[in-house]
């Protein structure tokens, strides 16, 4: 039943083997912790995830221990191959799970398959080691030695993981580093056991895995970026780079979120607050909003609000990115959110650069809604300049009104009021207002028209957030958000982008 052919290991081998126990035990626990952390990170509900991962991992180890009996000959060879396999699977586990997450239909399947596979292999390790070492020690000492190293390894791992590894290396690198440790054990053993058969092949495999892990380590940052989940910390259900931006949709429970280039655009939980506040103060102040222009807003959410006004005969929506409007026209879940606004017969979607478009466009529009991303870049900053607002003023009907998404008046008050100053420089009268949107914080808009925007507003019934009283409150600015003198944002000074940068950096530091 046992392999009579193998000679007992020498003293040096014994030392290596005992060190292996320590390494192997540490690695084994690290993979388990990685899987548990990743599962709760990606799937939410950490108690459940951790519990299930640990349970199935321990169970799989049991399976491995049981299966070890079927290894009849060449225990060392088997051990070495098991190490190489663990190194490959465990080493790449975090990176692989991150990368696969947005691609696979059922992430759980992948996760537990991996947990089981690693568990089985790790379960094989200790029984094999005990058998390999059985000639060196009396049985009593053997069990004591191996289990001691095993538990010490577990302690090392469980302390290192939260205190050093995750904060310093991140999950992807942590996996790789321990994969390297696993494969080094295999290489060391193969190296010293010179006369083993099949040694060449084992070495080749081990070095291949080592090489892959080293490459992985050197590319860890790239991998991290590629695996958006690692960045967003929420389940990424859609990610696509268009010619203009990176579109990412995430979901955690019922919360659907859109990110453009990593910046949050909306959360399905509270976007109604944002969009009702964007649309109704302006539509509610225009007598007959027949012709409406929406700039930006390729998600169709502002259009949803606008189209719900039966007076609106036609909406023109200008958004740079055709893939963005296509996504929000075709994806069932998103269509449910914007109520199919982008497919309405009353809308024309124009995919072009709004900065170019306004210069040759003809009005008049009764209402204009400028819903651009925050001025995080000089290119975007152009959409908030005096020159741009002059074009909008030209497109705006004499009794029309417009509104401009103007970033947070709480975090960036100077930036916020720069929008008003700039609209006024373009000859318009303005009024600022703001609203609390939980996923954004305190958010600001600016009304502008050829005449001073009035107090009276006609809101449709049945809005989720706005009524006349709530509307009136939005125009109150407490002291920390109060108006202050600002420069005019112009193409050649980009005052807005500069102050946006400063104020947000200050806030985030």
């Amino acid at each position: 039943m046992q392999s009579e052919t193998m000679p007992p290991p020498s003293r040096a081998h014994t030392a290596i083997l005992l060190v292996s126990v320590l390494v192997v035990a540490t690695c084994g626990l690290i993979y388990e912790l990685l899987a548990g952390t990743l599962a709760s990170y990606l799937l939410g509900d950490s108690v459940t995830q951790f519990s299930i991962v640990i349970g199935s991992y321990l169970f799989a180890m049991g399976v491995g221990s049981y299966v070890s009996r079927y290894v009849r000959r060449d225990e060392i060879g088997a051990f070495i191959r098991v190490e190489v396999l663990i190194a490959a699977l465990g080493g790449w586990s975090a990176a692989g799970l991150f990368l696969l997450f947005p691609l696979v239909d059922d992430f759980r399947l992948v996760l537990y398959a991996l947990v089981l596979a690693i568990g089985v292999l790790v379960g094989l390790e200790i029984p094999l080691l005990i058998r390999i070492l059985r000639h060196r020690y009396p049985f009593r000492d053997l069990v004591s030695n191996v289990l001691t190293y095993d538990y010490v390894g577990a302690l090392v791992a469980s302390l290192l993981f939260p205190l050093v590894l995750v904060p310093r290396l991140g999950m992807i690198r942590t996996g790789m580093v321990f994969g390297v440790a696993n494969v080094l054990v295999a290489i060391a053993l193969t190296w010293v056991l010179k006369e083993r058969r099949g040694r060449r092949l084992d070495l080749a495999m081990a070095f291949a895995v080592l090489a892959s892990l080293l490459v992985g380590l050197s590319m860890a940052d790239r991998l991290q970026q590629m695996s958006e989940v690692a960045f967003y910390g929420e389940g990424v259900i859609y990610a696509h780079s268009t010619s203009y931006q990176r579109i990412v949709l995430t979901r955690r429970a019922s919360d659907l979120r859109l990110y453009l280039n990593g910046n949050l655009q909306f959360s399905s939980r509270d976007e109604y607050r944002y969009h009702e506040a964007l649309v109704w103060p302006v539509l509610g102040r225009v007598m007959h909003p027949r012709n409406v222009l929406i700039l930006g807003g390729g998600d169709g959410l502002a259009a949803r609000e606008v189209l719900s006004d039966p007076e609106v005969a036609h909406v023109t929506l200008v958004d740079l990115d055709p893939e963005m409007t296509r996504l929000f026209r075709n994806n069932a879940e998103l269509v449910a959110l914007n109520r199919g606004s982008l497919s309405s017969p009353r809308i024309s979607v124009i995919n072009t650069d709004a900065f170019r478009w306004v210069r040759q466009a003809r009005g008049p529009y009764d209402a204009v809604i400028a819903d651009f991303p925050d001025p995080t870049a000089y290119s975007l900053g152009k959409l908030y300049t005096e020159s741009f607002y002059r074009e909008l003023a030209r497109l705006l009907a004499p009794d029309g009104m417009m509104t401009v998404q103007s970033t947070s008046p709480l975090i960036a008050p100077r930036t916020y009021w720069t929008v008003a100053t700039t609209l006024e420089a373009a000859g318009l009268k303005t009024r600022g207002y703001h609203v609390y949107v939980p996923s954004f914080g305190e958010w600001g808009y600016t009304l502008a028209a050829h005449y001073p925007p009035s107090d009276t507003v006609h809101l449709p019934p049945g809005l989720r957030f706005l009524d006349a009283r709530a509307e009136r409150l939005m125009f109150e600015f407490p002291r920390d958000m109060a108006r202050r003198p600002t420069p005019v944002n112009r193409l050649d000074n980009q005052a807005l982008v500069r102050s946006f940068d400063e104020e947000w950096a200050h806030y985030e530091s």
Partner: protein
């Protein structure tokens, strides 16, 4: 693959040494790796002039009252001035198929782009004629309370206008801001202070020490004496030897003059830093006007005004005084025939080395030398990125011998990414001009593309795989060089004087190749010609 890598390394290394073109070793094999064209000023037509290979005129025909020979900025400006003064009996003969000279532009599916000149600084107060033209073109939208012109913001270079790649990151502006020693910083401050002083200085004659156009500059020897030594020698004498300062100065000299500071006249060197006092309402002072197609925009507007008075593909190969007028010999590249035109006066708006060949009376060419340049328009599927401040209009690397690139879509787009065209500049100033010109002609499109791409990719590894096309344009005689002594060069002074009924117009007469000078020379020639012909006008020249 191996050969590929070595060649690229070789090209990069030689580009860094400033002798990108001397490296025959790297050459020969490169096939073009991207779509693109290799083009330039029409060499065949140019060389035909050099070798005087034209049939004798078969007929003499009566032409318009005035003939302009050469349709660069100077010739077009002369035409603009004539029309502006109500003088419309003239025609303009241009050797190339298109007017514009060194300020021509190209266009592809992504954007228009410059082939040469790409910007015009906001003109100084003394550039009255130019300001009048910009006003007519709608680029000036009003005046402020103090009477200063207000420029249309769409024409003014949008922020961010320039950035420098310095020690691994992009920073705003062209002079390094980090990692300088106290001494280096002090030298730079000192230098800037001195230039500000020169900028404000007024000579004994009451004129600004340094003006644009330079004809408006003071003749006070306190300033003109600077013309006797090179800029490098002048900086040395002041102890301004710090490496970052000298690198910055070298960049500026090569950018505006295509010439090394060791050859540039100190007067011209200081002029670069001290002559710009852009006159405009409040905030646009030190800004430039720019368009996707660069100064091609101004050329197009001037060309449109002149309409069919412009006759392309006409090489003027002879100009001589004749009784009560002039005879102009011209070869028509379409019909392949020559004619002699009888006219009352002519403006020769061509470079001096051409004018001297076709018209014995216009002075010599000894003091005239020209810098060769290469311009590549690189189409990319996405915008360049990089650590530090984001993409600017003008993007320069402290570690490269090229002058970096400008972004053609900078003025028109707000997308921030997506396809664009980068116009890459390189004056071949590091070797003697004649040699540079020879190597320039011998290089294949593929070799140029490799050189340009490796320079760009060194700076922007992020553009790997994003380059979709590289069009290369060679300027054999791109710019007149303001070398030591150019202000008093007798040949230049003789050329400036002109002799009725043959007038001269070209940036060569100023010794500095910038739009304002070409424009000024064109306007001056047009006014001199109208005076000669007895056409009444009110001078626009200060």
């Amino acid at each position: 693959m191996k050969a590929e890598v070595t060649r690229r390394a070789c090209l990069t290394a030689s580009a860094l040494l400033g002798s990108a073109l001397a490296t025959g070793a790297c050459s020969a094999l490169a096939p073009a790796r991207w779509p693109g064209t290799l083009d330039g000023a029409d060499f065949t037509r140019g060389h035909a002039l050099r070798d005087r290979r034209f049939p004798a005129p078969r007929a003499t025909v009566q032409a318009a009252k005035l003939v302009i020979a050469g349709g660069g900025v100077a010739g077009l400006a002369a035409g603009w001035r004539l029309l502006d003064a109500g003088f419309d009996d003239f025609e303009l003969l241009e050797l190339e198929d298109r007017a514009g000279g060194n300020a021509r532009s190209g266009r592809n599916a992504i954007s228009a782009y410059p082939l040469g000149a790409h910007y015009l600084p906001i003109p100084n107060r003394e550039a009255g004629a130019l300001r009048r033209m910009l006003g007519q073109f709608g680029m000036i939208v009003g005046t402020d309370a103090a009477g200063a012109p207000i420029y249309d913001p769409y024409q003014v270079c949008a922020d961010l206008d320039e950035r420098l790649f310095w020690r691994g990151a992009w920073q705003e502006g062209l002079f390094p801001q980090t990692g300088l020693s106290v001494a280096e910083r002090a030298q730079h401050d000192d230098f800037e202070r001195t230039m500000a002083m020169f900028s404000a200085a007024v000579g004994q004659d009451g004129k600004p020490a340094f003006a644009v156009p330079i004809a408006c500059s003071s003749q006070d020897p306190a300033f003109t004496a600077l013309d006797r030594i090179s800029f490098a020698a002048w900086l040395d004498a002041r102890g301004w030897t710090s490496a970052p300062l000298r690198a910055y100065v070298r960049y500026c000299c090569r950018d505006d003059y295509g010439t090394e500071p060791g050859e540039v006249s100190a007067w011209a060197g200081v002029h670069y830093f001290a002559a710009r006092r852009g006159w405009s309402g409040a905030e646009t002072r030190d800004r430039e006007l720019t368009w996707p197609e660069g100064n091609g925009r101004l050329v197009a507007l001037m060309t449109a005004q002149l309409g069919d008075r412009i006759r392309p593909a006409q090489t003027v190969f002879g100009a001589a005084r004749a009784d009560d007028g002039a005879t102009i010999n011209v070869f028509d590249h379409h019909s392949g025939t020559s004619r002699a035109l009888r006219t009352q006066a002519a403006i020769l708006a061509m470079p001096q080395f051409v004018a001297a060949r076709i018209c014995p009376g216009v002075g010599g060419t000894k003091g005239f030398s020209y810098a060769p340049w290469v311009v590549a328009n690189v189409s990319t599927s996405r915008h360049p990125r990089g650590p530090g401040v984001p993409l600017a209009w003008d993007n320069v690397s402290a570690a490269s011998d090229s002058l970096g690139y400008v972004v053609a879509t900078h003025q028109t787009d707000s997308g921030g990414d997506g396809p664009t065209v980068l116009t890459w500049y390189m004056p071949l100033s590091a070797m003697p001009a004649a040699e540079a010109r020879r190597v320039m002609l011998n290089r294949s499109l593929g070799e140029w593309q490799d050189l340009v791409a490796s320079d760009l990719l060194d700076l922007h590894p992020d553009l790997e795989g994003a380059i979709t096309r590289i069009d290369v344009w060679r300027w054999g005689h791109a710019m007149i060089r303001p070398t030591t002594g150019f202000l008093t060069d007798p040949d230049r002074l003789a050329a400036q004087a002109g002799a009725p009924p043959l007038f001269r117009a070209h940036s060569d007469l100023s010794g500095m190749s910038i739009f304002e000078e070409a424009h000024y020379r064109g306007v001056a020639a047009a006014e001199a010609a109208m005076r000669h012909l007895g056409h009444p006008f009110e001078s626009l020249l200060a």
